[in-house]
């Protein structure tokens, strides 16, 4: 078959035409799609806002929980420290009540001279009018 015959055939092909309502259909679809898109955008916007809000809320909640946990931990540490200090203090007080403080006055290889402060204090309470002499370095 010659090319010319194909050309002739193509030329005789009738031109297709759009339907009468073509333009109005396009405009209707355009209107419909615009409204749908606008609605879609609105819904999408609202959904996005809701998701963001939810994410932010969860974030804040978690942050608050983390803060609280940290504070709780700090309080527990302080309490433990306080407890340890209290126990230490009561141990020291107990120990100091048991031990009689003495003042070493001197001595030699055979004898140590010590002053029993508990006894001294007891004496002072019993006889408050007696005032101890001040040692000035002279012979006692």
């Amino acid at each position: 078959m010659k090319d010319r015959r194909v050309d002739e055939l193509i030329r005789t092909l009738p031109k297709e035409r759009a339907s009468e309502e073509f333009t109005s259909r396009v405009l209707d679809r355009l209107k419909g799609e615009t409204v749908t898109k606008r609605r879609g955008r609105l819904i999408l916007g609202m959904a996005t806002a809701a998701v963001l809000l939810a994410v932010a809320s969860v974030g804040i909640l978690r942050w608050q929980q983390a803060e609280k946990a940290e504070l709780r931990e700090e309080i527990a540490t302080l309490r433990a420290e306080h407890q340890a200090l209290s126990e230490e203090l009561s141990r020291v007080m107990e120990q100091s009540a048991r031990v009689h403080p003495v003042l070493y006055l001197g001595g030699d290889d055979r004898t140590d001279y010590v002053l029993d402060m508990n006894k001294l204090m007891r004496e002072r309470r019993r006889r408050p009018h007696i005032i101890p002499l001040k040692y000035t370095g002279g012979p006692i």
Binding site: D3, I10, T12, E16, A18, S19, V26, L27
Partner: protein, 188 residues
Amino acid sequence: MERLGDAELMGRVKAGDREAFARLVDRYKDAMVNYLSRLTGSRARAEDLAQETFLRLYENRDRYREDGRFSAFLYRIATNLARSEIRREQRRRMLKLVFLPGGNGAGPVENPQSRLLGKEVHRKLAEAIARIPIRFRIPLVLHEIEGRSYLDVAETIGCREGTVKSRISRGRKRLREELSPYFSGGVP
């Protein structure tokens, strides 16, 4: 508004003027339906695709540059839509072939467009065009049926003029092969 050129009307469309848009639709609707009918081989599908083409045109109105030719811009949209539609149709046929034993899946399906064409020869020609591979069919229809220049076709499908000429030539060869049984008196 009748006298306004395509670029001026598009300028108005960009500003949201729907009357200008309607004018452009009126101006190009027949060309689009004819072009898409030849590409898809179906008058009904062509009408739908042509409507879709104008909707895409409106959606992409901001992409249109006044230095570019409007018709090339519009034909490019239509061509891309038709290409996607034809590929979808090919996939559907493949699936039919796989899932419906007995269906031949090949060749154009009898459609309203075919029935509308009065002359048998026109029906055969339309079917033969629809059987040409899409990369040859598009430039062939644009040039031979729509009467667009090689340069226009090249701009529309985004390739060189030389490539367009070569594809048209190969498309014509395929068309000759498709039609030869009918013209030599053989049984199709």
